[in-house]
């Protein structure tokens, strides 16, 4: 089994519901985005359009971040999900140097909340419990939701069904069929990490 996500960029209109759902679910601090939507302008006047590229940790099959981690804090599960054990993380940030996808964030100790100068609201305080300053964090593919049979929050919340979650190793899964039928591609496959997030365009 190898969990993955297919992202159909043709369906994305840049509402960022996935970004917000991720933040609500995971309580990431201000300025930290485990999920984000990149916006790009293509074409030239008068045929200009905006392209949206939702992105998250690529949960690579050959994760560069895991290979360089000196403490084993970054690891890949048998189901393909790449996680960080913050209790083991020393905060050396070698994984961030190795990751080409800007998927990792370092908690630099800033306690600035979403309302500067007002301190943390109760929700923010609750979300920060158990998180260790000075360590690295990233998208978990909502492993806790998957464990109880649910889809990742970003997949579940998308109003235009941009994202499809499933098992890449199962040729009969919806995502495997989509990749084959519509020529799914990975971002920067030349880097040799074999990402588990595929994109569909056009």
């Amino acid at each position: 089994m190898r969990y993955g996500i297919v992202i159909d960029t043709k369906r994305c209109f840049g509402c960022n519901a996935c970004t917000i759902a991720c933040k609500q679910k995971n309580g990431t601090p201000s300025g930290v985005f485990w999920n984000r939507v990149y916006v790009n302008e293509v074409g030239s006047y008068p045929t200009v359009r905006r392209e949206y590229t939702p992105a998250l940790c690529m949960h690579c099959d050959i994760p560069a971040c895991v290979a360089v981690c000196p403490t084993g804090a970054s690891y890949k599960r048998e189901d393909g999900i790449v996680l960080v054990d913050q209790n083991k993380c020393v905060g050396c940030r070698y994984c961030m140097v190795a990751c080409p996808y800007n998927a990792r964030y370092f908690d630099n100790g800033s306690s600035e909340g979403y309302f500067p100068g007002k301190g943390l609201v109760a929700y923010e305080t609750a979300q920060q419990l158990g998180k260790i300053k000075g360590t690295v964090s990233k998208c978990t593919m909502c492993a806790d939701r998957i464990a109880v049979g649910e889809e990742p929050a970003c997949v579940q919340t998308c109003p235009t069904k941009v994202r499809v979650f499933g098992d890449l190793d199962d040729p009969n899964s919806e995502i495997s069929k989509l990749i084959v039928a519509r020529g799914g591609y990975q971002i920067h496959p030349e880097l040799g990490t074999n990402p588990s997030v595929y994109y569909l365009r056009g």
């Binding site: 990149y38 905060g91 140097v97 080409p100």
Partner: protein, 341 residues
């Protein structure tokens, strides 16, 4: 009635300055432990800065001092009477490097995990253990070298350990596919040359240079000048983005400081045979600035859409690094006293 004369020993002003700077460094370290790494100029894009640059410089210097002391068993470089002190310098440099790593990691309480995890897929693990081995070799070598005896076997071990540490540190960067600027193979070469410059410079500053060291340093600086230009030209061959950053972008001050202050100026001083100690300080500073621009330019441009990262060291970083160097000076004096060399 008898009279007694009390002789007041003059305290070395260098030590007083070192103690003050060390206290300042410890002070900002405590401050950084309280507020976290936000005290640095690092960002989510550029995650290695002055601390890691200084670490590479210090460890490179220590490794070079160890290796070059070994070389001195075979060719006339360091005088036999200076070898023990050069090894004290090497050990002090390694200790400075260790303190800089403790400064750089966000969660220093977890450093012990690097020792117990044995993640051999990580070059950082190899770096750690090779550094430990180099430290042990330097210590054993020092114990033997105190008697000014020739130790060819330890010399060879020192050469191997010193080179291995620097090669692995260069490879730590070169092996990252996500950082094409480091992947040209030049990084390992510049690390080796930078280490040699740093080691020779420290020997010169400490007055342990002898006659051969200025000549060796002059050659190393000349080679480094060529390599730096080749490295920049290599990055021009690719997208050219990194070369733009290095030559005219946010990190260009570090590059030009290296070329003018850290390479050309010491070469001139060494050619004129004046102010050798100053040439050493400038050359050492040049190695540090080279690491800063190599790290910042190599990580500045993201693969994903988004703005490039920028970096300039914060005052906390600068004071902390100076403080660690000052602690290194004190440790060096302490090692000289302990080992009576």
């Amino acid at each position: 009635m008898t009279t007694s004369t009390v002789s007041v020993k003059k305290v070395n002003p260098v030590l007083i300055v070192a103690i003050l700077l060390a206290l300042a460094g410890i002070g900002v370290w405590v401050y950084q432990l309280i507020v976290g790494m936000q005290a640095t100029g690092l960002s989510q894009q550029i995650v290695w800065g002055l601390y890691i640059s200084a670490f590479f410089t210090a460890v490179g210097a220590g490794a070079a001092l160890l290796a070059l002391t070994g070389v001195s068993e075979f060719v006339p470089l360091f005088q036999a009477t200076n070898r023990a002190r050069n090894l004290c310098l090497a050990l002090s440099s390694f200790i400075i490097g260790a303190m800089l790593i403790a400064l750089d990691v966000g969660n220093p309480l977890n450093i012990w995990r690097v020792m117990t995890a044995f993640q051999l897929s990580s070059w950082m693990t190899w770096d750690f253990w090779l550094l430990v081995i180099a430290g042990v070799v330097a210590l054993v070598y020092l114990l033997v070298a105190r008697n000014n005896r020739t130790q060819k076997v330890l010399g060879i071990l020192g050469i191997l350990a010193g080179i291995a540490v620097v090669v692995v540190e260069g490879w730590m960067l070169s092996s990252q596919a996500a950082r094409p600027m480091w992947g040209s193979g030049m990084t390992v070469a510049t690390f080796l040359l930078g280490a040699a410059i740093a080691g020779l410079s420290i020997a010169l500053i400490a007055g342990l240079g002898g006659e051969a060291v200025p000549s060796w340093l002059k050659i190393a600086l000349g080679l480094s000048l060529v390599l730096v230009l080749v490295e920049v030209l290599t990055s021009l061959v690719g997208s050219g983005e990194e070369a733009g950053l290095i030559l005219t972008g946010f990190i260009s001050p570090a590059f030009w400081l290296q070329v003018i202050v850290g390479l050309l100026a010491p070469i001139v001083l060494l050619v004129l045979k004046k102010f050798g100690w100053l040439a050493g300080i400038l050359a050492l500073f040049g190695v540090l600035t080279e690491k800063v621009w190599v790290l910042a330019a190599g990580t500045s441009i993201p693969w994903m859409p988004g703005p490039q990262g920028i970096y300039s060291p914060s005052l906390v970083e600068i004071v902390a690094v100076i403080g660690m160097v000052a602690i290194g000076v004190l440790i060096y004096r302490l090692l000289i006293l302990i080992f009576k060399v």
